[in-house]
Symmetry: none
Subunit: 420 residues, 2 copies
């Protein structure tokens, strides 16, 4: 099956917003074994949308369209779809109740504009939206099955997994061919280095397609296999996974594409251990990551985000002498911060960050990108200094945080020093 994606919206067309939906959708479709052959984008213009929908309907078997399903006047995708299909917009009870249910959960009333969202092209089927007012819909135009989804990424993603992928499975029934994908999360090696370590994989496993995907600062190794015999494919994938883990070693932290915070959290839970954090330059990002994981309250006790030295002293009990002697960005300070947080919260482990995220604050001796990370346990306190070369505040905050969580992970695995 050949598929296309189309993003609609002036904000994307004019470049005000970078379209990340198409990439996400393409990945999901590729994982089901569908070949994506084209992406497109047009603005909030009914003729333009209708025209490109007609073109797609003659080229593709399947298409995913995002954007323009909102309640407002510039949301015209349903209109354009009806025009392309040569049908009328009709009131869809299912869509209306989907909207009503969502608004009810919001304690909001249905207004006239929402009713507009329940007008779908005749012959289309409503796609339920559990996180927004805009229902999607499926409509066949000539040979192509179109999935129309909202452009809001969180809503689009939810509807891809809840609505589109099940549909595609139905469409693919009969055609036995399927595809499996395995995602290994790695941290600490550059993309090129990962690629180098995995040289030879495709020779050893010619049926496996290797893909690397970077979502800073994590590099995901993706193993795709397509086939007819699932058991065989599973065994092949397991062997390839073993090959990858062997080459990547402890830089690989999950064989299921999990996040670093999820893995660190699971290790803490397994050990019935708790964690306290002391953050300076990461400004709360470490605690935010840890607490993004549902149930993290089982092991996350406290984080002291201490930007000011006064707070470091008063809250974490860092000694004034150390701050005077070594400064805020130093291994000694990081040690006292980590141990202080651990003691105050009565946690099993304490981790800390103190560094320079930039853009300002750098010196020759401690340039932007310098960070000291402390790891405290009941009977040890270690600190490590790193210097990252990203001249971007948000990237520095992120890589400082992930590095601290990775040190915690290695501590929990008893592999702090191992680097291969």
């Amino acid at each position: 099956m050949k598929a296309e994606t189309l993003a609609t919206g002036d904000e994307i067309l004019t470049g005000a917003v970078i379209d990340s939906n198409s990439a996400y959708i393409a990945q999901k479709l590729e994982e089901t074994g569908i070949e994506v052959v084209r992406h497109g984008c047009v603005g909030d213009n009914i003729e333009a949308i209708a025209a490109i929908l007609k073109e797609i309907s003659t080229r593709a078997d399947l298409a995913v369209i995002t954007g323009g399903l909102g309640p407002t006047l510039d949301d015209i995708t349903a209109d354009a779809a009806a025009r392309a299909a040569g049908v009328e917009l009709v009131f869809d009870r299912e869509a209306m109740s989907c909207i009503e249910n969502f608004l009810k959960t919001q304690g909001r009333d249905v207004i006239a504009l929402n009713k507009k969202q329940a007008m779908l092209p005749e012959g289309s089927e409503c796609l339920f939206n559990s996180v927004g007012t805009a229902p999607g819909f499926v409509l066949k135009i000539s040979r192509c099955v179109f999935f129309f989804l909202p452009g809001v990424p969180s809503e689009m993603r939810m509807m891809i997994s809840d609505g589109v992928l099940p549909w595609i499975n139905k469409l693919q029934k009969g055609k036995k061919s399927f595809s499996l994908v395995k995602t290994i999360s790695t941290f600490g090696l550059a993309e090129a280095a990962v690629n180098e370590r995995l040289a030879g994989l495709t020779k050893k496993f010619p049926k496996i397609k290797l893909g690397l995907r970077a979502r800073f600062p994590i590099i995901y190794v993706k193993l795709y296999v397509r086939g007819k015999n699932k058991e065989k494919a599973d065994i092949l994938l397991e062997k390839a996974l073993e090959f990858v883990l062997n080459k990547i070693g402890n830089f690989a932290f999950s064989a299921d594409g999990e996040s670093m915070e999820t893995v660190a959290g699971s290790l803490l839970r397994k050990e019935k251990a708790t964690i306290a954090v002391a953050e300076s330059c990461t400004g709360g990002l470490i605690s935010n990551l840890l607490t993004n994981v549902p149930g993290s309250s089982d092991y996350f006790l406290f984080s002291g985000v201490t930007y000011s030295n006064k707070a470091k002293i008063k809250v974490l009990g860092v000694s004034e002498a150390t701050l005077k002697k070594c400064g805020a960005v130093h291994e000694e300070t990081a040690k006292e911060m980590a141990d202080g947080a651990r003691r105050i919260a009565g946690a099993t482990y304490g981790i800390s960050t103190s560094g320079i995220a930039g853009p300002g604050g750098g010196t020759n001796e401690k340039p932007v990108g310098t960070v000291c990370i402390g790891v405290a346990t009941a009977d040890s306190v270690e600190a490590y200094r790193f210097n990252f070369q990203f001249n971007e505040r948000s990237r520095n905050k992120m890589i400082f945080s992930i590095t601290a969580l990775d040190l915690l992970r290695r501590q929990l695995l008893g592999k702090t020093s191992e680097t291969h």
Copy 2:
């Protein structure tokens, strides 16, 4: 003039890489007054590229194509362009010397593969590349002038400013128009409600195009105007902005598309005030947002992320009695948290959050989505209770945090109670 962009490359088509070039190019073209009507993307497939180039040549006056100009075998864009134009690839001396010059600056020798990069479609003109080996080229196919550029963003950007824009100025000769856009950030009104309040804007300002964009939980109002007379357009835009701010009132927090944390930070700086935060359910997100703003160390002193009651008591000085009597999620507790953080850090203001982000932890009396937010000043402590209905942990954390920052903003503006 109508323009289109096209990105080529399997890594973009399969979603391994998000295409940011098209957005950049669209912005640059829009700034020169050229209307971008479509973006496209195809893979490293000569037939696919040639086919879409032919389509574009019949629709657009101008097109910018990126990718596939490298030295390797899957770099086939020049080939595809020649095919679409019905001409041969010919050796281009200018392109070759451009390649030689660049390699010289790198201290590298010309290899056979580079010679391939000097083969351009007959009738095309070389575009100089000062930062890479791949020269670009300009080629007219039927009515459309095509600019072919490398896909490496840094090279593409350089060649847009050095090669494409000067060329466009020549093409435009006097019939130059331009477009302006204004972005207003709003929080607290649903998209439909914003739209309802702005009904009548397009009637009153027919030359203005209105666009709403939601990036949870912020709704951005975008005003687009195109014209030949910049002064007139500026005045028009100012009038439309005034209209919008009038209708949206204090729900609008920036007339420049700024983030809530940036606006709150600027108000703190203007007042030479400082902020301390006490976070429970937001888990560090408020401090993370605040510290994403460069220079935030001028006003951000401390955040205590206190998940455990013990930490609330020990670090923030919340009274055990209050926690016993009211529980962790309560206005009284939120008040003591906000005031505690403020006092410990010696800050001008203190804000706090205590609630249930979910998925677990909800009760009938305090369901998931309940949050109590405290705002403390030197001479007052207020607390507010909200109940949001998003059944998603990350969304709850985000809307809790933005609501707290909005309450701080309103406090700083002295408009806490005003809601219109």
